[in-house]
């Protein structure tokens, strides 16, 4: 690394990254059904013993997969999400009153996170009008049509899985593991990325970078997925 590369580098360690994640942290995560959840950071949070987390993200994964592992271990107090159906442990905790779950329709949740990341206060949508989703929400008529005001979401820390990161934190993702990752990456005060490959500045074609490095605070190497996928366990049934 030359002097400029050193000055711009965000490459860090798991230990350093975990300093930002503590009891009660408002933590956004990328991933969808476990795919794109950052495995090394999830493992690190488990090992550190962090509890009472307030999570924001698409779903609670599966009991032994991805972010679902934090739920199963009882480390989560509250979550804003769209789906917990694939993780029965989350459902049980919710019914026992141990886990506070706030549901948002999936596209609305994604857009609330994007709004937070884009520096907006919220947005208007007609999704969920006439259902439970509208309860407690302000209705606004715009251009003659009725909408719900959906508020923006931000977090203290975001944890991201990327395929490739350069040392400045420019990111590319891999196939369907992109999902919520680029949205979450923009919406937190501190964004921590674990990448399958960390490459020198200038390696990534600026045309294909999905998340510009300005959004990223720390880049750590990924140890790779350390769980069995739900479909691997279900094989043969």
């Amino acid at each position: 690394m030359n002097e400029r590369e050193k000055a711009l580098s965000k490459v860090s360690t798991l230990e350093e990254a975990l300093k930002y994640i503590n009891d009660g942290t408002v933590l956004m995560f990328g991933g969808f059904g476990g795919i794109g959840n950052p495995p090394t950071l999830v493992e690190g949070i488990l090992q550190k013993g962090v509890k009472n987390l307030f999570l924001i993200g698409n779903d609670t994964g599966f009991p032994r997969v991805g972010i679902g592992r934090l739920v199963t271990a009882g480390r989560v107090k509250k979550i804003i999400t769209s789906h917990i159906g694939s993780n029965p442990v989350a459902g049980e905790q919710m019914h026992r009153g141990e886990l506070d779950v706030e549901f948002s329709p999936q596209g609305t949740l994604a857009e609330r996170i994007r709004a937070g990341g884009m520096g907006l206060g919220g947005f208007l949508t007609d999704v969920g009008i006439g259902t439970m989703v509208e309860e407690g929400k302000q209705k606004i008529v715009s251009l003659g049509k009725e909408y719900l005001l959906e508020t923006a979401l931000t977090a203290e820390v975001a944890i991201i899985h990327a395929d490739r990161a350069d040392t400045f934190g420019n990111l590319t993702y891999i196939r369907s593991a992109r999902n919520f990752n680029p949205l979450v990456a923009m919406a937190a005060d501190i964004t921590i990325v674990e990448a399958d490959e960390i490459v020198p500045l200038g390696t990534l074609d600026p045309e294909v970078i999905v998340t510009p490095g300005v959004y990223v605070d720390l880049v750590i190497p990924s140890g790779g997925v350390n769980w069995k996928w739900a479909w691997e366990e279900k094989k043969g049934t």
Partner: protein, 219 residues
């Protein structure tokens, strides 16, 4: 799931017959997911997934699964040549903008008017709505593919839903292991009955009123 493998696949293969060339199609979790494996060889559709794929194909052969290429239910899929990847806001932008020709969704309850309930069993189970509200509210055509009866044996097709709604008046066709039922202005019309049942069996397993035309097809 309450149904055996065979019946789930029967529902999926019947639902696949609703696909038409050129359609952009989203499949929900459960039985609908299986539809991607039953696309007739002469039909060319483009499957969309909420996690950010436009253009996926059937389940890969065992041993060829890619953990980073999965549908919204977290199950491995294959990629079609026209495919693109994007984040979930773009996936839902397409849905809200009305670009989906068809969605096939699971159901806890469906009403005579085409109301859909599929995200809360009050007091028991709250899986969450996932993307079902956007899909049911915005896709041009909404088909429900489900078991005819709930796990506890109660009818799912009702005069009015008792569970909290996903959407009102959005379902156009109901495909189950017993029947194919069309939602019309006049009410529910029994179009087809599965080979092993008679129309009377369907009536008995359905709380909603069914209009039975003189000729009912078999599937």
């Amino acid at each position: 799931m309450g149904l055996g493998r065979e019946k789930r696949h029967l529902v999926a293969s019947r639902a696949a017959r609703e696909l038409k060339t050129g359609m952009i199609v989203n499949l929900g979790i459960g039985i609908p997911t299986l539809v991607a494996d039953y696309v007739p060889p002469d039909i060319h559709v483009v499957f969309q997934a909420e996690n950010g794929i436009l253009g996926y194909g059937p389940t890969p052969r065992e041993g060829e699964e890619d953990p980073f290429l999965c549908n919204a239910g977290g199950l491995p899929v294959t990629l079609s040549k026209e495919a693109s990847y994007f984040d979930s806001t773009v996936a839902f932008g397409m849905i809200r903008r009305g670009l989906l020709d068809l969605t096939i969704l699971g159901a806890l309850q469906v009403s005579e008017e085409g109301d859909l309930a599929n995200w809360i069993v009050p007091g028991k189970r709250v899986p969450g709505m996932g993307g079902a509200i956007e899909l049911a509210q915005k896709a041009r055509r909404v088909i429900v593919a489900t078991e005819h009866l709930a796990r506890d044996g109660r009818p799912k097709i009702l005069r009015a839903c008792t569970f909290p709604l996903t959407t009102r008046k959005s379902v156009q066709l109901i495909i189950t292991d017993m029947a194919v039922i069309q939602v019309t202005e006049q009410g529910l019309v029994l179009q087809e009955v599965a080979k092993e049942y008679e129309p009377g069996d369907v009536v008995q397993a359905t709380e909603a009123r069914l209009i039975i035309p003189p000729h009912v097809e078999r599937f």
